[in-house]
């Protein structure tokens, strides 16, 4: 086998002429910094640089949404954004959804309503759902289907994903209601949540 080694370059060929740029961003509430090539995609910085591998890359063309993260609260496809574009911005990935002690209601909803099978689309799907519920706490089925139409799932047929998001909306509404009762908060959102809960029942 010794002749084979002629075909192998010894290690240590790194190219110090490649330019790098410093990026600083907030990921899941934590300040992170990295020196990156300008061409590095945000998804790859998250996955390989920060080892946040819950952000999946599926299609490379912004169609499947497996790489969806929230960028200053807005869902974006991190496989078609450069890491340098995130400099100075806030990114939320699936790893930032749950607190140390409890799951986000969307995560609970996906489990309870069997909103996932292989799990590969799930992080992106849940973040797209979070962006929706942050904007619209009481979405209709059509509004949910439209909001998730940038995220592909090959396993579930979406029906249980829709139910999962409704489950989460109801729970978030109930949480808001009890918070509202505690500190006499916004009445209208509590009413909306109650109406939604009634509709579900």
């Amino acid at each position: 086998m010794s002749t084979l080694y002629e075909e192998v370059r010894p290690s240590g060929g790194a190219d110090d002429t490649v330019p790098v740029r410093r990026v600083e961003l907030t990921v899941n509430g934590e300040r992170r910094a990295a020196d990156v090539e300008p061409r590095l995609l945000l998804a790859h910085l998250l996955r390989n640089g920060f080892r946040l591998t819950g952000t999946h890359t599926g299609c490379d063309t912004t169609n499947c949404g497996a790489c969806t993260v929230l960028y200053d609260g807005v869902p974006v496809k991190s496989c078609t954004m450069f890491a340098v574009q995130a400099d100075g911005h806030e990114v939320l990935t699936v790893e930032g959804m749950a607190t140390a002690s409890e799951l986000h209601p969307i995560q609970e909803g996906f489990k309870d309503e069997h909103g996932l099978q292989c799990g590969f689309c799930t992080p992106g799907m849940m973040l797209a759902a979070k962006a929706l519920l942050d904007e619209n706490p009481n979405p209709s089925e059509d509004e949910i289907r439209w909001a998730l139409s940038g995220n592909l799932c090959r396993c579930t047929g979406y029906q249980n994903i829709v139910k999962a998001v409704m489950w989460a909306a109801e729970k978030l509404g109930a949480n808001a209601e009890s918070d509202g009762a505690d500190d006499a908060g916004d009445d209208s959102s509590a009413d909306g949540a109650a109406a939604n809960a009634g509709g579900e029942g």
Partner: protein, 792 residues
């Protein structure tokens, strides 16, 4: 007091899934999530042409890029006898092209580098000089006189025909046609489609020269078959190969075959003595890995005026691409196409099939399907609708007249398969009632008066799931059994491993439920592991809906072995003879004195601490299960649609599904499988196909061109169930994972054809794109979706 089986997560419990705990946190462990120390990255350079001779490959510019560690070409592989590998269908496939490229996307060279970006740079720097050859993109071109020979690498291959195959009773079928009052004929094309799990394929090969052990993390639905294949291809000793299939981001049949990327990453790791990772991109996956379907039908039915089917003739022409790498039982060249018409009581049937090579990607995998069953049932139900129309009979009534009756089981199908159970008429009636059949027909007529086009489509079918038995089903000679190993620990907790491999079906949840049912150990006390060939018992993997029928049965059988041993321990502990022991879920007791008993957990600790004299210690066992027959679920799918006569766009109004998959282990998961399957059925009927232009360019090489349904288009589904237990499966279960994908497409297509029935149109090929429907509507003629044919 017996345990409540539902409470302990046993049979019938819609237990929430164990695997979800990691997936919802983004803590799954998919292939690309694995990083090994010192790992390098590999990228594949693919052919831009469908058919071309390789004049030269210049890799010098790739070598000049800092960070490139290795460039591999076909010649390098040929020097090690690795340029070609065997397929799962006794053919050969190029690993890296040496002489010619035979399809667009074929693997030509690989670059290994410090990071994946540099590896891609390396691929772009390689210069290949091609001499273009005429491409062949369909069976008509492939068999035309003077057609260029695609497989000139194979001695004795003097045409582009892969096989000619037949099954059935030719003369008996001829007689049936001679006696027929009406002969109904139809021709159609089931287009090429790609299973397209969201996660593409990949591998990380890690060869350790010090120990000579090769570990390969790989996206595979069948890790043990891969281990055997690697042993044969790479000539490595099998006990020094470990295949680990991590979490899979979907499979659908796409992750059954052996792909060149796996093989080259292994060679690169051996040469470089470090881990080498290959992660396929989406285009690579769509243009080079196992497709499904791509098959043409000529169908004929011999009918009597009273509606009875006397005989069926089918001829199929299938397009296998450049290498025959279908993944299917070896003796059936066109899979289980001959399972068509299994649910109908027909006199005689005869099937001929020809397969050809073309300059397209190889595959022919069972895309959410038991080996061409999807095509078989689609052809069947389209032929049935055409026959009902030709007889002027109601499509539901025509089915009712011909369906096998409940008291006719076991029933030998005309092509020799044996169906064993079902309540076909009940399922059909339930479906018709759920959709409101008579009401809909009235609405349809009223709508027609006002120029609106409503239609209803029915699809009824039984399909053979769960290969083997081993007498008839093998892949490359390996019999299609499966396995389970159960280790009950001292404290009554347990570890279960099987030879199957989950990829979303929820084995980690449902296998534990079978153990709970058999032993009364709560499901949450049973850890399920699969996919590591160093630890899992040998099995044939998960595809063709075979997990529950085969591996699931093995889980039952190994649990029963454990229970039999525990019974002996119980008799010893209770100081009675074994014959005087009764079993209720989770507990043995003394017959006639039910208060005197021991739990399965008490037996477990005794197995390690207080066993009877002469008994082997421990409470561990395994089972290898060879099913006596396939399982035969039945389904009735009904769709209603409205077609817009101005545009040809059709909308789904309702979808009703009645599935009889026998006993349901976890109803929630079963329903999830059905809804997923219905979505793929809708996708194939409506949008999802891969085609090729005359030059062999793949149209559908990314998700902008290969349309998959989103939440927005996908209709809602109404599910119903009938339960006819499988007579030979230990818990009465049948396969379910693919029923809706198999039976569903015909319901949608039949509905659209029904809606435009006044035009006399008999067929529009899938997908029923608006322009095709519009052309049929306005032209009043059938619309073929077959690719362009030029034969000069």
């Amino acid at each position: 007091m017996a345990l409540d089986e539902i409470k302990i997560g046993g049979l019938g419990a819609s237990r929430r899934r164990v695997e979800d705990n990691r997936f919802i946190r983004g803590k799954g462990n998919y292939i690309d999530d694995i990083a090994l120390p010192g790992m390098l990255h590999m990228e594949i350079l693919r052919s831009p042409l469908a058919h071309a001779r390789i004049r030269s490959i210049d890799v010098s510019a790739a070598w000049a890029i800092p960070g490139v560690r290795m460039v591999l070409t076909g010649d390098m592989l040929a020097a090690r006898n690795l340029a070609w590998m065997p397929t799962l269908s006794y053919d050969t496939q190029a690993v890296l092209a040496t002489d010619k490229v035979r399809f667009q996307g074929q693997e030509v060279a690989c670059v290994v580098a410090d990071d994946p970006y540099i590896a891609k740079d390396g691929c772009e720097a390689i210069v290949v000089d091609y001499e273009p050859l005429p491409p062949i993109v369909n069976p008509i071109q492939a068999t035309a006189p003077g057609a260029p020979l695609i497989r000139d690498d194979k001695t004795g291959q003097d045409s582009n025909v892969v096989f000619d195959w037949e099954v059935g009773d030719r003369e008996g079928t001829d007689r049936a046609f001679a006696e027929a009052d009406v002969v109904s004929t139809i021709e159609m094309h089931y287009p090429r489609s790609h299973p397209s799990p969201i996660e593409a394929c990949g591998s990380i090969a890690d060869f350790n020269r010090a120990t000579s052990k090769l570990t390969v993390y790989m996206t595979t639905q069948a890790p043990h078959i891969i281990r055997a294949a690697v042993a044969l291809v790479a000539e490595l000793p099998e006990h020094m190969i470990r295949i680990v299939s991590p979490d899979l981001g979907g499979g659908f049949g796409n992750k059954v075959p052996v792909y060149p990327g796996y093989v080259v990453s292994i060679l690169a790791s051996i040469l470089l003595e470090c881990p080498v990772k290959w992660i396929e991109d989406k285009s690579g996956n769509l243009i080079s890995t196992g497709f499904g379907r791509d098959i043409y039908l000529k169908g004929e039915m011999a009918l009597r005026n009273d509606g009875r089917i006397l005989g069926v003739r089918m001829h199929t022409d299938s397009d296998h691409g450049a290498f025959f790498s279908d993944a299917q039982p070896s003796k059936f060249k066109i899979g289980l196409m001959h399972s068509a018409f299994s649910c109908y009581d027909i006199g005689a049937a005869y099937l001929t099939a020809q397969g050809v090579y073309t300059n397209k990607a190889p595959g022919g995998v069972a895309y959410r399907c038991s080996f061409r069953v999807t095509e078989a049932m689609f052809f069947q139900e389209r032929m049935v609708q055409a026959a009902a129309t030709d007889l002027g009979m109601d499509q539901a009534e025509f089915r009712r007249v011909n369906l096998v009756r409940d008291d006719d089981f076991p029933h030998r199908t005309p092509w020799g398969l044996l169906t064993d159970s079902g309540q076909y008429g009940k399922c059909l009636d339930l479906g018709l009632e759920a959709i409101g059949y008579e009401d809909f027909l009235r609405q349809k007529e009223e709508a027609r008066q006002r120029g609106r086009l409503l239609g209803i489509g029915i699809s009824t079918m039984t399909e053979p799931l769960g290969a083997g038995n081993s007498r008839e089903y093998d892949i490359l000679g390996i019999k299609m059994f499966d396995s389970a190993e159960l280790k009950v620990h001292m404290t009554g907790k347990a570890l279960l491993r099987t030879g199957a491999k989950t990829q979303g079906q929820g084995h980690e949840t449902t296998w534990a439920q079978i153990v709970a049912h058999e032993l009364g150990i709560p499901a949450e006390d049973v850890l399920v592991e699969e996919g590591d060939t160093d630890t899992a018992p040998f099995g044939m993997g998960t595809y063709a809906s075979r997990s529950t029928p085969v591996a699931g049965a093995a889980v039952s059988m190994v649990s029963r072995k454990i229970r039999a041993k525990a019974r002996k321990i119980a008799a010893y502990l209770l100081e009675v003879s074994e014959e005087d022991i009764d079993w209720e879920l989770g507990r043995f007791s003394v017959r006639g004195a039910p208060d005197r008993g021991v739990t399965i957990q008490e037996c477990a600790i005794a197995a390690y601490s207080n066993m009877p004299d002469g008994m082997e210690p421990g409470l561990e066992n395994n089972a290898y299960y060879d099913p006596p027959n396939l399982t035969w679920p039945f389904a009735c799918y009904i769709a209603t649609v409205e077609v817009d006569p101005e545009t040809g766009v059709w909308d789904v109004l309702r979808v009703v599904a009645v599935d009889d998959c026998g006993v349901r282990i976890n109803p929630m998961i079963v329903e999830g499988q059905i809804m997923g399957g219905l979505t793929e059925a809708y996708a194939m009927a409506n949008m999802q196909f891969i085609t090729f232009d005359e030059d062999g360019n793949c149209i559908g090489s990314n998700y902008m061109d290969y349309l998959l349904p989103t939440a927005w288009e996908t209709p809602g589904f109404e599910l119903h169930e009938v339960v006819t237990p499988c007579p030979h499966h230990p818990i009465g279960a049948k396969g379910i994972g693919e029923c809706a994908t198999v039976g569903g497409p015909a319901a949608f297509v039949n509905a659209v054809i029904d809606a435009i029935g006044d035009t006399g149109v008999r067929n529009i090929d899938m997908p029923l794109l608006p322009d095709r429907v519009y052309e049929a509507l306005t032209g009043g003629h059938d619309v073929s979706g077959a690719p362009p044919v030029t034969t000069e």
